[in-house]
């Protein structure tokens, strides 16, 4: 994660001045998806790049050490070795950007990653995820415990009652949603958030990261997200320090697409290891 944003004096007039032209945003969202496709080796390379942005996530009530371990192994070896070799990418050390788990599973994840001998960071959702409706005291304590267990990144659910009443908080990264809502990461919303990030950068020189999460399941979606960030913020945002995709099933679809690219065949379910 980038050096902490230096922060700036909170100027709420910036926020109150913001105007969103919704129909124009919708049009722009459509355009980016339609105009920025990539094919063939470009698609393969972009997909591998997308892998390096994934916060490989499991946020289930029934997570246990065994499936966390499997997740961590998948984070370390996201794409089958022979496929990477075929693309001459086997020495690029392609891993996901992080694994993302509940606070109670941080310990398991850290242990599993250490066992796999890699330095993939562990991210933890915290602060009463996903609603955030717990006391400030327990929220802070939750963060502290997760960090103690070895989490190096914390996805904080902000207190939305404060936001809705105009009391904002600052952050290093902004995330579209928890992934647990009925509507999660959508392009129109993302455009508004990315423009806000750009404005903030223009005004203060601080780069804030962006993480869409929830509902990003297909390889094609992930490509659209990459080009969206590329178009709106530029290549400098296309690195794990500033861009993450929160997803659980996306990786397997990417692997299937890579398989198809390399072999010319569609993979059977059992051709690729599960995560």
């Amino acid at each position: 994660m980038s050096a902490r944003s230096r922060g700036t004096e909170l100027d709420l007039s910036w926020i109150s001045k913001i105007q969103v032209n919704q129909p124009a945003v919708l049009r722009r969202a459509e355009q980016i998806q339609a105009r920025r496709t990539v094919k063939k080796e470009w698609q393969a390379a972009w997909l591998l790049k997308a892998v390096t942005f994934i916060d490989l996530t499991t946020l289930s009530g029934d997570d246990t050490p065994s499936n966390i371990q499997r997740l961590c192994y998948k984070a370390k070896y996201p794409i089958r070795e022979d496929l990477l070799k075929a693309l001459n990418m086997h020495d690029k050390d392609i891993t996901t950007a992080a694994v993302c788990v509940y606070p109670a599973r941080v310990c398991d994840a850290v242990k599993a990653l250490k066992a796999a001998g890699c330095s993939i960071p562990v991210a933890s959702v915290a602060t009463g995820f996903p609603a955030g409706q717990t006391h400030l005291k327990t929220r802070l304590e939750e963060i502290r415990l997760a960090v103690e267990d070895g989490a190096t990144e914390i996805d904080v659910v902000i207190n939305r009652s404060l936001v809705l009443t105009g009391q904002w908080e600052g952050s290093d990264f902004i995330k579209t949603s928890t992934g647990k809502e009925t509507v999660n990461a959508t392009f129109p919303v993302a455009i508004v958030m990315l423009r806000a990030i750009r404005d903030f950068f223009w005004k203060t020189g601080n780069k804030v990261g962006f993480k869409p999460a929830g509902g990003i399941r297909s390889a094609k979606d992930s490509l659209a997200w990459l080009s969206l960030v590329k178009e709106e913020l530029g290549d400098e945002w296309l690195k794990p320090e500033l861009f993450r995709i929160g997803a659980s099933t996306l990786l397997s679809d990417i692997e299937r697409q890579i398989y198809h690219h390399v072999t010319g065949r569609y993979a059977a379910y059992h051709d690729l290891p599960m995560s």
Binding site: P23, R36, T37, A45, W46, L226, S227, R265
Partner: protein, 751 residues
């Protein structure tokens, strides 16, 4: 595992995250060209027409210069063949019930849907336009246009009762055009029962493909005929006797002017440049580019403009991912152009944007309206009140608020000023190809020996013509300009005789200077009158109606002296008063709201005044025709300069006495004199926004010729008398249609 098809340089792309080519296969376009043996002719009467001994020009891929096919150039006899086919087809096509025509158009839409890949790859291949734009935009809209007009055709008998199709329409298309421009014009024409001969420039295969698709539907093969040939064939097509109307569209420039308020100038420029930097140009058939090419000529045009702008002191910003070689030209932003420099006035070529700052909205409006063009504009502002104020104030055919470039079949698209006065889409588009039932068909009666230089140039001198005798009091004298009777500049008069050959009275002999004064007075009154509520306009027309009734006996006796029987004379006065009242009522029912698909929010179809409308009245019905023309013009918010009946202008002058006391000065001006001379002065006046002429065929021809100078809308009678006492001809919807212009104001909404 299957054989590896790995890419050699995924490693580099992984680091650079470049975009790659996304080529759209155009094999089907090539296969279609192959079916024609790489030689395209014309498509006439449901068959390919490939006459021998014709010149041919190559159709080239604008990106590579590679020759794709050769295209035969039509000659006059091919044009005649096509027109004959369309004329024959018109007989059966126009006789079909609307429902049957609607069904046929729907079938065409379905055929387009089935062959859309061929259509979009062919269009992109030969024009260099971005395939995604053609595929997601044009091809879809083409189908929507057909469906919309199919519905209009199905309800024609009820919705458009009293109108009939014109006949064979000649359509002339410019060198750079999208096939969609053709669709906007042929759909309404075919829907209402007209048939079409389209003359497309050399090397335009897409219209030929469309004609083939339409022709292969089987029934009605001759309704759409496409011939390709040089621009010099345009007059040949236009002068074919069977052609009832010629529609043409000019070359599309496509550059933009941007007016940015000073307070946000820096912010907007920064964002604009940022976004331009991300634009990608390339071969049109690449699915991931934003801009294609419009060929070498467009590239040269842009280059020349940018160089000139630079030499005139402008700054230039160019960016984007653009292939370095011709015919690609980068998106270009020109700014700091001195306002008085020639480039600041010139038309901006594609892909150039000229940005200039303004201080107040009022200033922006003045700049935007200060050009001869009046096609479309968009207003971007978060202040709704201000945006609407500008939207209403812009003299444009289409205005988008916080959006740009939206189009829909149900929304009329057109323009004003030199952007032309014809309409496509919506109800307005249908009327372009209709005429009131019973109107005599237009015979091509252009006189070859018409001398435009001398028509109406001089006024025959007039001398005293004996004593003024008769029962009626002395008629009012003078030109009615700016709210009062004035002496003519020439200080001479012309005698008006009554039906028995005696002198009825003298009227002032108006001339060029008087016309100038009258147009000026009308312009001064125009903003005030256009700003009046319809209710206020109606009030004034009703007041004039009452005044006419009070003056009934004088008016009737003057009509009697012109040989009208007393009963009929009184009836004419009464009918005139009724006309004023009727138009007063109609003034209050103008414009409406449209709802289009794919857009939340309304589109307002506004009916706006034309501005200063000049009317040359017919000889017949000296009172009724005058009033029947004055009333719709005023009801729609125009100010007028009228030339009353040459045979008896005295009736109009009588009415002017009431106008003087009731109306604001300059609203209605009446200039008497030699009709040909005054017609000449009005037709050649560049600041008259529209001209109605009811007179000789020769005068009509002159009016059309002279008005081409500023493309003002004209309405001419070609020497055919009208039944002014009949409802359809004297007060029908045609007058209302012609007395105002449409503006489409798009108001997308969103939270």
């Amino acid at each position: 595992m299957a054989a590896t098809r790995a890419a050699p340089h995924a490693r580099e792309i992984f680091t650079s995250l470049e975009y790659g080519p996304v080529p759209e296969s155009h094999t089907c376009a090539l296969a279609w060209l192959d079916t024609q043996d790489w030689c395209l002719g014309h498509y006439v009467n449901g068959k390919w027409l490939k006459p021998e001994h014709r010149d041919s020009v190559p159709c080239q891929d604008p990106t590579t210069g590679e020759t794709l096919a050769s295209c035969l150039q039509a000659q006059a006899e091919d044009v005649a063949t096509a027109v004959e086919a369309a004329r024959t087809a018109f007989k059966s096509w126009s006789a079909q019930p609307g429902v049957a025509r609607g069904r046929h158009l729907t079938r065409l839409a379905k055929v387009i849907q089935k062959h859309q890949r061929l259509l979009w790859t062919l269009e992109s291949l030969v024009t260099g336009r971005v395939v995604r734009e053609v595929r997601d935009g044009d091809v879809q809209l083409a189908q929507q246009l057909l469906h919309y007009h199919a519905i209009q055709a199905s309800t024609q008998e009820e919705a458009l009762a009293g109108w009939e199709p014109m006949g064979v329409i000649g359509l002339i298309l410019p060198p750079t055009f999208s096939f969609l421009e053709m669709m906007w014009r042929i759909c309404p024409a075919l829907a209402v029962g007209s048939t079409v001969v389209a003359l497309v420039p050399p090397a335009s295969p897409t219209p030929l493909l469309l004609a083939q698709l339409a022709g292969e539907l089987g029934s009605f093969p001759g309704i759409l005929n496409v011939i390709s040939g040089p621009a010099s064939l345009g007059p040949v097509l236009a002068s074919q006797p069977a052609i009832q109307k010629v529609a043409f569209c000019g070359a599309l420039e496509g550059g933009l002017r941007l007016l940015i308020q000073e307070s946000v100038w820096d912010e907007v420029m920064r964002r604009l440049q940022e976004r331009m930097g991300r634009l990608r140009s390339g071969r049109g058939l690449d699915g991931a580019v934003d801009m294609g090419t419009r060929g070498a000529a467009a590239c040269d045009l842009a280059q020349r403009f940018v160089h000139e702008a630079q030499s005139q002191g402008a700054q230039v910003f160019q960016a984007g991912d653009v292939p370095p070689e011709r015919p690609f030209y980068p998106p270009t932003l020109v700014f700091n152009l001195p306002p008085a420099s020639p480039c600041a006035q010139a038309e901006v070529p594609w892909p150039v944007v000229v940005a200039s700052p303004f201080r107040t909205a009022k200033e922006a409006l003045a700049v935007a309206n200060g050009t001869p063009r009046g096609g479309s504009a968009s207003v971007w502002s978060e202040r709704l009140g201000q945006a609407l104020e500008l939207g209403y104030g812009l003299r444009m055919g289409t205005v988008w608020i916080n959006a740009h470039g939206l189009r829909d079949p149900s929304v009329p698209t057109g323009g004003c000023k030199e952007s032309g006065c014809s309409w496509h889409g919506g109800p307005d588009g249908l009327y372009e190809y209709l005429r009131p039932s019973g109107t005599p068909t237009q015979v091509s009666c252009l006189s070859k020996n018409m001398n435009y230089d001398t028509f109406g140039l001089t006024v025959p001198s007039t001398l005293p013509a004996g004593p003024e005798i008769g029962p009626s009091p002395a008629p009012p004298y003078g030109l009615f300009v700016g709210g009062r009777f004035q002496a003519p500049g020439a200080r001479s008069s012309r005698p008006i005789q009554d039906s028995s050959g005696n002198l009825h009275g003298y009227v002032a002999e108006g001339g060029a200077k008087d016309i100038r004064g009258a147009v000026e007075a009308a312009h001064q009154a125009a903003p005030g009158w256009a700003g009046q509520s319809p209710g206020a306009r109606a009030g004034l027309l009703w007041a004039l109606a009452a005044a006419l009734e009070r003056r009934k006996s004088t008016l009737a006796s003057r009509l009697e002296r012109q040989g009208v029987e007393l009963k009929a004379a009184e009836a004419e006065v009464e009918l005139s008063a009724r006309r004023l009242r009727a138009w007063g009522a109609r003034a209050q029912a103008q414009g409406h709201t449209l709802q289009v698909s794919g857009l939340r929010g309304p589109v307002l179809r506004l009916r706006e005044p034309l501005g200063v409308l000049a009317v040359v009245c017919p000889d017949e019905w000296p009172l009724l025709a005058f009033v029947s023309l004055l009333a719709p013009a005023l009801a729609c918010g125009n100010t007028v300069v009228m030339v009353p009946s040459a045979a008896c202008p005295l009736l109009a002058l009588e009415v002017c006495q009431d106008i003087a006391t009731l109306f604001p000065a300059g609203l209605a001006n009446v200039v008497t004199g030699d009709q040909d001379h005054l017609t000449r002065c009005l037709a050649l006046h560049q600041d008259v926004q529209a001209l109605w002429y009811f007179g000789s065929a020769q005068g009509s021809q002159f009016v059309e010729w002279a008005s081409a100078g500023n493309l003002k809308p004209v309405w001419v009678s070609r020497g055919c008398p009208r039944a002014w006492d009949q409802e359809a001809e004297g007060a029908g919807p045609e007058l209302g249609l012609r007395a105002a212009r449409t503006k489409a104001l798009w108001l997308p909404m969103g939270d």
